[in-house]
């Protein structure tokens, strides 16, 4: 392409367009979330005579339902930003929850630490295989999806592990008083994870390197970025956050079942990331988009229940939203200038 841009004036337009594009990308699906909320509220008034969606109590429930998925999706955002995928987070969540409960039966609060370390170790295992053996992330994590599920059942002796006196049950059911409002711990944790992820992605060298590896791995290597370290980190943190999700889930239920817990959670997490505008090929995306994506899924689920839609149709609606999100991803990539 010829270099006709020689004076400063005619280039103002592309700059504004670039800013516009990055703005649209960063707010991502927020309008969709808002419209969805309004529709559900109006639908509630129309069909049931009362708008039960927009109440503090219900919104708090929605946020709690979104919280575990948001934590998993935050980890998934790191992974997908590098162009990878982590299919094993649901299984890791189950294994970590089982370990956390088992440890809590004798060592109390150390169960939290045990669950987090379980998640971290499995995630790093994924990362090692992907970074050093150069195996495709899809295949590695598809393998650990199955293997770790088996591990979770093995650890729990293929039964449900209980701890009625769970010392960290407050994580799942308690709330913290912030000023006049009492905010459930689940929401606080999810929000902290999102903020921390944002700080890492936007304010650290590591964050820039994550975007660089996702944008162009060959160039990243030639520019002196330790690609293996970046990959190890993203799969490690995805595992760690899945472990945190395990703690949250276990604390909610006082129990963990290696077979059922976290089934297909990875799909909700991936859906949240993609809904949030992160490109499936890596390099483009933001953690705030992921938060919005997780909220859309929770609002959709909650709203469909409020409207009396059956479980079967909820599945169909959620699936349609995921496909629609990928279509949007394609559309967005075509719109961006890749010359």
């Amino acid at each position: 392409m010829s270099e006709i841009i020689s004076d400063a004036k005619p280039i103002r337009r592309p700059e504004r367009r670039a800013q516009m594009r990055s703005f649209v990308r960063s707010i991502g699906m927020l309008p969709v979330l808002i419209i969805l909320g309004i529709l559900i509220q109006l639908g509630g008034i129309y069909f049931t005579g009362e708008g039960r969606f927009l109440t503090w109590q219900n919104l708090s429930i929605v946020a709690q339902q979104a919280s575990i998925n948001a934590v998993l999706a935050a980890g998934m955002t790191f992974v997908i930003l590098t162009g990878g995928i982590d299919l094993s987070v649901g299984s890791i969540l189950a294994a970590a929850a089982v370990v956390g409960l088992l440890v809590s039966q004798t060592l109390g609060d150390l169960g939290i630490l045990a669950a987090l370390i379980t998640g971290l170790i499995i995630g790093l295992g994924n990362g090692l295989l992907i970074a050093f053996l150069r195996l495709p992330p899809f295949i590695v994590t598809l393998g650990s999806l199955t293997a770790v599920r088996g591990l979770a059942r093995l650890l729990g002796n293929d039964t449900t592990v209980f701890n009625a006196d769970l010392p960290f049950a407050f994580v799942g059911n308690g709330a913290i008083q912030i000023g006049p409002v009492s905010v459930p711990w689940l929401i606080v944790i999810a929000f902290l994870v999102i903020v921390l992820s944002w700080l890492i992605l936007r304010r650290t060298v590591l964050g820039v390197h994550i975007y660089a590896v996702g944008g162009n791995e060959a160039a990243a290597r030639l520019s002196g970025i330790k690609v293996w370290a970046v990959l190890l980190f993203v799969y490690g943190i995805s595992g760690l956050l899945a472990g945190l999700g395990g703690v949250m889930q276990a604390a909610r239920l006082y129990a963990a079942n290696g077979l059922q817990l976290g089934q297909s959670y990875e799909l909700d997490a991936i859906a949240a990331v993609i809904l949030g505008g992160t490109s499936f090929v890596g390099g483009i995306g933001s953690i705030w988009g992921t938060l919005i994506g997780a909220l859309i899924i929770a609002v959709l689920t909650n709203g469909l229940i409020l409207l009396g839609v059956t479980d079967v149709w909820q599945y169909i609606a959620k699936g349609a939203v995921i496909i629609g999100a990928v279509a949007l991803d394609r559309y967005r990539l075509r719109g961006s200038a890749r010359t």
Binding site: S2, E3, Y211, A212, N216, A218, A219, L222, S223, K226
Partner: protein
């Protein structure tokens, strides 16, 4: 094999009413493009370009990289839609080429540099791709093999229709593309630098095929940088410059000087810049001895001094890039030594090489250099953000100031560091990539095809930057396939052939740096033969 009576004769065509060109006044043009413009965000890639092609001619399309040749051909092939107002006629009928299928239906075929073949399919399957012969619902392979045989025989192909395309050489794959175009009854065939990857014998064979097609009345648009080829093949030459149409020359008007003048638009004397003086002390900075990877690089040896621009020349595939990547630690070496400032070094990763003060500019800036979706600022700072950071936390203020300074110093034409680098022109992208390397303050720069795909203005600026670097004492190794460039900027030239450094010209060798002396070493032919 060229039957002169067949050339240009299309008796069913009316005489062109307004044929302006001196050539072929008795034949109507098969293709006429007028007033073709194409605007990309921020860039006007083509401005009112025109091109007239007659049946049975080989029409060379020339111009520097970025002049708009590819854009024009992409419009012809339906890959791009031109700006409104374009007038494109085929056989005198106005047409709208709305997509690749429409172009094919109009008889237009393009053979790109990167061949568009499926290597896992047979020759016949590739030729019939998208138009498979059928027998009811089933694919009729027998008919496809039979249908290809004649075409392949006519082209003088040495392979059959059942061969897997992946097993063919590049030249043979090109033949498959030609066969596909013929089979699709194409009448306009565009060839984009078809000889880049061919040996001289393969090139001659391709030329025979081209002349045969021409004799059969096909119009061939031939894009090439190589003057000798254009001179040998083309009836007429059209030249583009900076997205505009400069003019068309008839065969008898064609000579290298006038074409270069049309392409460049000015005199070339001040184009290359060589003001630096190689360090009198000749302090060796980088010494490479018998470096090899046991595969594509057999043995590379040279010494690079402070304040020197050393050229590394050779034919495509001679192993220049591979040698550079061995030095840089991008690939593992199996033999040889590298000495940096008197100390032996063995980089296992590029990161180690950068830390030691060696940087490498890749020849493929889009695939291996830039992060196209990231901002200009991040692209410039990427190598040094770690140094600016405090315990891993970014220093955004320092990064922004740094990138602003680099944009200013390199005269990168961009409104600000927040623009995605993918939206810039080739020359500006290259300057961004160069800035990233320079921010690490390297002692040794290995620049692999530093002016590939940049326009003529940016080229000259990059030569100035290289000269300035040498003046400040940096040691610069320039790999280039453009001989005038190497001759213009290098103090000495090391030449590689078949994975080995075979000799040196310039400096203390006493042999002057000329295209002939370099080619002699690059091809292994004695100098007097090349010069003759």
């Amino acid at each position: 094999m060229q039957d002169p009576t067949k050339t240009h004769v299309r008796s069913d065509q009316p005489t062109a009413p307004g044929a302006t060109s001196a050539a072929m006044p008795d034949v109507a043009p098969i293709l006429r493009m007028r007033n073709v413009s194409k605007t990309f965000p921020g860039v006007k890639a083509l401005r009112n370009v025109e091109l007239t092609i007659y049946p049975g001619e080989v029409h060379a399309l020339m111009g520097e990289n970025g002049a708009g040749k590819s854009t024009l051909m992409k419009i012809l092939s339906g890959a791009y839609i031109p700006d409104p107002g374009a007038d494109i006629q085929i056989d005198g009928q106005p047409v709208h080429i709305t997509g690749p299928l429409a172009a094919k239906a109009l008889g237009i075929a393009i053979i790109y540099q990167e061949l568009a073949l499926a290597p896992n399919l047979t020759v016949a399957e590739n030729i019939y791709l998208g138009r498979e012969a059928r027998n009811g619902p089933a694919i009729d392979r027998a008919a496809m093999f039979a249908g290809c045989n004649d075409i392949l025989t006519n082209l003088g192909a040495s392979f059959g229709p059942r061969t897997l395309v992946g097993d063919l050489s590049i030249a043979e794959q090109q033949m498959v593309e030609v066969a596909r175009a013929i089979h699709a009854k194409s009448r306009i065939l565009v060839m984009d630098e078809p000889t880049t990857a061919l040996s001289s014998r393969e090139t001659q064979r391709l030329f025979q095929v081209i002349l045969r097609l021409k004799a059969e009345g096909l119009a061939i648009i031939y894009i090439s940088h190589r003057m000798a080829e254009v001179y040998e093949l083309a009836e007429r030459v059209s030249v583009l410059r900076d997205g505009g149409y400069v003019g068309t020359l008839d065969r008898h008007q064609v000579d290298p000087e006038s074409i270069v003048r049309m392409m460049v638009g000015r005199d070339l004397s001040s184009f290359y810049k060589k003001e630096h003086r190689p360090d009198a002390a000749r302090t060796p900075v980088l010494a490479v001895q018998n470096l090899g990877d046991g595969h594509r690089v057999k043995s590379g040896s040279f010494t690079l001094h402070a304040g020197e621009v050393l050229g590394l020349a050779g034919l495509v595939g001679a192993g220049r890039t591979e040698l550079a990547r061995l030095i840089y630690g991008a690939e593992p070496r199996t033999t040889g030594t590298v000495t940096l400032l008197g100390k032996p070094v063995d980089f296992r990763t590029p990161a180690e090489a950068i830390d030691a003060g060696i940087v490498y500019l890749t020849e493929d800036r889009k695939a291996q250099g830039l992060f196209l979706d990231m901002t200009v600022g991040d692209n410039i700072n990427l190598g040094v953000i770690g140094r600016d950071a405090t315990a891993g936390w970014l220093n955004r203020v320092r990064a922004r100031l740094r990138s602003l300074a680099a944009i200013e110093a390199m005269a990168i034409r961009v409104p600000g560091p927040e623009i995605a680098v993918g939206t810039l022109s080739g020359g500006n992208q290259q300057k961004v990539l160069l800035s990233r390397l320079l921010e690490t303050q390297p002692k040794v720069l290995i620049l692999d095809e530093p002016t590939r795909g940049v326009d003529i203005g940016a080229k000259s600026e990059i030569y100035r930057i290289i000269d300035r670097l040498a003046q400040t004492g940096a040691a610069v190794l320039v790999i280039s396939s453009e001989l005038p460039e190497i001759v213009g900027i290098a103090d000495r030239v090391v030449v590689m052939r078949e994975g080995e450094t075979r000799g040196e010209v310039g400096g203390s060798t006493g042999v002057s740096i000329t295209e002939e002396s370099i080619m002699a070493l690059a091809t292994g032919v004695a100098i007097d033969k090349v010069a003759a």
